[in-house]
């Protein structure tokens, strides 16, 4: 505030104007310099940062999902390969008018209510950019119809890629597993942009899951120039993908397919092992699911149909199904007696039952077997023989032999999970139940009942080890550097006794006379088993309610005198071993004479109403038709 007041004249005003105009001009010039400095700072000092941001604006990196490695059988035949597939995806983050777009897609792609339900479910669960498959494997015409309407369908991403294909479908479902789009959790865990690339699939089950790192390959990349609205202007560079490596299995694809077909309408499993190498030749579990439909995103109804089936098509019975082995353990028990010093000629009298303590244990043959030695005990499956000598030899001997032969063992197989069951022993019972071992437990265990639980793969391994006397380890993949097979150290004549007795089961006076191979010069040895599911009070085990029927089991190897192949067949609630050994016979026949085996199978399939695919399709259709009605009570 000016204290002195000079007289205000026009001259003073002129001077003031000049002075202040220079101040204003100076201020303007300073601001100009400041702006120049600011610009220099942005474009020189911060140039690197902004050049990078500009580049990341301009260039969009699109990953190309790698083609998955094949899974081939021992002869190089593809069990899982890739085929060209056209697909439509939704990127949830870019989907703005969901109802409108889905409505359009529904008509364009002829989606049924089931598919719409799945898409909506996936969209609700989807995170940001995780693509949701609308439809895979669409026809060229459908693809084109979506492509031309693309500008009106924001969030829709059509793509040309590869889809996993399993030529034999359901026959390899459990063995190979299936692939699927990664879910939100898997993406969170991996933090890999590949996981949210449409069309990328990861192994979700079994071998597909276990060998994921081998099968995956390296993604390709397409660098494109995009506008702010996401429109691709031009391709900058493309790096091709590197296909995943091939996994060579020991499986014989044709045998696997045959075994799966031969199980027919039953619920069961077949495991075949090469006795000389341990190669697993077949591992079939039926009923199964079609991995092809899982890989392209399974429908709600189809999944429900599978999960409600009392034959549990979603469980791999060869490794996760646990069953009382029944009489199939008898050759093992006999081997334990032999190795513990019991002569094969030792006999006991079977009168149809044996009193143990204050309870009578019956032989399956109520009329009795008369004088029974070891061979007869096996081929006639005399329970009393084993009741008698088991008490004499003790449970520890039997349990130790069971474990040596693979029961209760977890094998180093490339599978995500296997249930390895129980080989009971006095120590085991004390620890598990806190109760001492009873003689009755021993008696039960010798006929494969009671606490004993095994899976079909263990049974097949047991058969192979009994047949060869070697520690046969099952293998699913081919490997040049396998350790040579170790011997179990059994006396040769002991092995001979067991082989001969098991030969008699099929080719002599045994319990499986109908299992004889229709092949010249090849004799199959085996052992039947019938596992009780419920006490006899609920049913005879032969008929009645399906789920109360006995399991039918059979272990086998052939040729009996120079074992090459070992097999185990388990038919759930088959009503007895009679359900199992014909399957073992035909599967074994296939290994020696394919034409004969195929002829037999075709006869059966006509009776059952077609191939696996035909029957599954019919079942599904019937289920869908029935799904609208109130659910049926229980399993009839």
């Amino acid at each position: 505030m000016p204290r002195r007041k000079p007289p205000i004249t026009e001259a003073w005003r002129g001077i003031t104007f000049t002075r202040r105009a220079l101040v204003v001009g100076g201020a303007q010039a300073s601001l100009g310099v400041a702006l120049a400095a600011r610009m220099a700072y942005i474009s020189v000092v911060e140039n690197d940062r902004y050049a990078l941001e500009s580049e990341s604006n301009r260039v969009n990196l699109t990953l190309i999902p790698p083609r998955r490695g094949w899974i081939v059988d021992r002869n190089g035949k593809a069990m899982a390969n890739n085929r060209v597939s056209l697909r439509i995806d939704i990127i949830p983050d870019r989907l703005h008018s969901k109802e409108l777009v889905l409505g359009q897609l529904k008509t364009l792609l002829k989606l049924d209510g089931d598919a719409m339900e799945r898409i909506n479910r996936d969209l609700d669960a989807a995170s940001g950019f995780q693509p949701v498959a609308v439809k895979e494997d669409i026809s060229e015409a459908e693809y084109a119809s979506v492509l031309v309407r693309l500008p009106d369908l924001p969030g829709i991403a059509p793509a040309r890629g590869f889809a996993r294909y399993y030529p034999t479908g359901a026959a390899v479902g459990h063995l190979i597993g299936y692939v699927g789009a990664p879910n939100a959790e898997e993406y969170q865990e991996a933090k890999d942009p590949l996981y949210i690339t449409p069309g990328f699939k990861i192994g979700k089950q079994a071998l597909e899951k276990y060998f994921e790192p081998v099968l995956r390959g390296k993604p390709g990349a397409r660098r494109v120039e995009v506008t702010a609205r996401g429109k691709v202007v031009r391709d900058l560079s493309t790096q091709p993908d590197v296909q995943g490596k091939t996994v060579h299995l020991t499986i014989d694809a044709e045998l696997q397919h045959y075994a799966a077909r031969r199980i027919g309408p039953e619920s069961g499993s077949v495991v075949v092992i090469d006795c000389l190498t341990g190669d697993v030749l077949a591992m079939a579990s039926m009923p199964s699911f079609d991995p092809n439909s899982f890989s392209s995103g399974i429908g709600v109804a189809e999944y429900k149909w599978l999960s409600q089936n009392d034959h549990v098509p979603l469980r791999n019975k060869t490794l996760s199904g646990l069953y009382p082995p029944g009489s199939t353990v008898k050759p093992m028990v006999a081997m334990s007696f032999l190795e513990a010093g019991l002569p094969a000629s030792a006999t006991t009298f079977c009168g149809g039952g044996l009193r143990v303590g204050n309870r009578v244990f019956h032989c399956w043959q109520r009329r009795g077997h008369g004088q029974v030695d070891m061979a007869k005990g096996i081929y006639q499956s005399c329970d009393v023989y084993f009741y008698h000598f088991a008490q004499q030899m003790g449970m520890d001997v039997i349990a130790a032999m069971g474990k040596r032969l693979g029961l209760g063992q977890k094998f180093p197989l490339p599978v995500p999970s296997q249930s390895y069951g129980t080989v009971p022993s006095p120590a085991w019972k004390q620890e598990k139940y806190g109760r001492p071992w009873a003689v009755a437990d021993t008696v039960n265990a010798t006929i494969g009942q009671g606490y004993m639980l095994v899976n079909p793969t263990q049974l097949a391994v047991m058969a192979a080890r009994l047949a060869t006397g070697n520690i046969v380890m099952p293998h699913l993949t081919q490997d040049a550097n396998r350790a040579p097979m170790q011997s179990l150290g059994f006396a040769a004549d002991h092995i001979g006794v067991v082989r001969e007795a098991m030969n008699q089961v099929v080719n002599g006076l045994g319990t499986a006379g109908r299992a004889r191979l229709p092949v010249e010069d090849v004799k199959m040895a085996g052992k039947t088993g019938t596992a009780q599911v419920v006490s006899l009070s609920k049913g005879s085990g032969k008929g009645g309610l399906w789920k109360y029927r006995d399991h039918g089991l059979f272990i086998a190897f052939a040729p009996f005198d120079a074992p090459r192949y070992a097999a185990a067949v388990v038919i759930e609630h088959g009503g007895g071993s009679g359900a199992a050994y014909p399957i073992a016979r035909d599967v074994m026949t296939f290994l020696f004479d394919r034409e004969k085996a195929m002829a037999a199978l075709e006869g059966f399939e006509t009776g059952w109403g077609g191939t696996i695919e035909e029957r599954m399709a019919r079942d599904f259709a019937a289920w869908k038709a029935g799904a609208n009605r109130p659910p049926p009570e229980g399993a009839a």
Binding site: M1, E10, T16, T18, T227, R229
Partner: protein
């Protein structure tokens, strides 16, 4: 030597060259922004420039007396137009800034930038020197600035309202009003800032907040500033080269041909292009400031200085905006940005300043 005829000599060739250089450079950038095409922007902009340049040169031949005489009338006329726009906007709904006159969309708020300067220049030219420190020197000016600024704020157009205030304030400052008035006004303004802020529209408030922290919302309202800085920063010293700017060509830079044209230019021409443009504006403003200093009449002095400020305000706010130093207020870069309104305003300013320059060459100065 061939004698140059006086008619030719009187044409301000240097200024025409300077204006043509700025606009020509702008045309190159518009050509590039359109993806290497004269349409839709560059050719129309070029035609406009030629037309407005001729208009400015004609304006320059007028004596300045009529400008002074009609300053108030023009001012009142523009205020009426502003009210008209406001009423039309009320009827039409939403933000309304122009009157559709059929042939041209007239934006009265642009005219006001000039009218306010002329009206205030006349007011202070007529004010007896003895009244300079009195109340009578202040309140009419405040009303004259306040009414149109308020009307423009209602549109709402924060940038233009500020331009009107800036032009008016500079004229008041140069007229010799006591310095402490300005000091206390600045203090009062700073104190009232929160209240003024609360009176802004939501989107204006958001722009101001985003300006204070642009990275807080890089994909939303801060997008403009972020992308603009990316464009300028990625240009570096020499730029990416003509027609090679990815930010503008791929639409990452919004308003790349209007408000953010400087970023479009800087991306392709780099710091060198930016400094050249700044230098060109410096030359233009130095010329107009010199005209103000050498003006023969007080009206001429104040008007030339005020119009200089109007031009400067465009340049400064626009450049501050594109470099992230000011909120996004929607002020174009004069002569450079595509658009008729701002070019019309600036060329009118230039024409008047030329008229004032011509006037100072004709007679003796009244002051000094």
């Amino acid at each position: 030597m061939i004698p140059v005829p006086p008619a030719i000599q009187r044409i301000p060739w240097k200024l025409i060259a300077l204006l043509s250089a700025i606009t020509g450079f702008g045309l190159l950038v518009l050509y590039s922004a359109a993806g290497g095409s004269m349409t839709p922007w560059a050719s129309l902009q070029g035609v406009r420039f030629v037309a407005f340049l001729i208009g400015a040169l004609i304006l320059a031949r007028f004596p300045i007396k009529p400008f002074e005489d009609f300053a108030y009338l023009a001012y009142i006329g523009v205020v009426v137009l502003l009210i008209g726009v406001e009423l039309l906007g009320f009827v039409g709904g939403g933000s309304q800034r122009w009157l559709d006159l059929g042939v041209v969309n007239l934006q009265p708020s642009e005219l006001m930038k000039i009218a306010i300067v002329l009206a205030l220049a006349r007011f202070y030219a007529q004010l007896p020197p003895g009244n300079t420190r009195t109340w009578t020197a202040l309140w009419p000016a405040l009303v004259m600035i306040g009414v149109p600024a308020a009307l423009v704020m209602l549109q709402p157009d924060l940038g233009t309202a500020l331009a009107i205030c800036a032009g008016g304030a500079v004229v008041m400052f140069l007229s010799g009003l006591p310095l402490w008035w300005f000091g206390s006004a600045a203090l009062a303004g700073a104190a009232a800032l929160p209240i003024l802020f609360s009176m802004l529209h939501d989107y204006q408030q958001k722009r101001v907040l985003i300006f204070l922290d642009p990275e807080s919302d890089p994909l939303g309202a801060g997008y403009h500033i972020s992308q603009s800085k990316i464009a300028i920063g990625s240009g570096g010293i020499g730029g990416k080269g003509f027609l090679n700017g990815s930010q503008s060509h791929l639409d990452y830079l919004p308003e790349g041909h209007t408000d953010f044209i400087f970023a479009t230019m800087a991306e392709e021409w780099g710091l060198i292009g930016g400094l050249a443009l700044l230098f060109a504006f410096f030359l233009l403003l130095r010329w107009s400031t010199r005209v103000a200093l050498n003006a023969r009449t007080r009206f001429g002095q104040l008007a030339a200085a005020g119009l200089t400020m109007t031009i400067f305000f465009y340049v400064a706010i626009n450049l501050m905006m594109v470099m992230g130093l000011a909120p996004v207020v929607g002020i174009p870069l004069p002569l450079f940005s595509y658009g008729g309104s701002s070019m019309l305003t600036v060329m009118t300013c230039v024409g008047m300043i030329l008229a004032i320059e011509n006037d100072s060459k004709t007679g003796a100065r009244r002051f000094h």
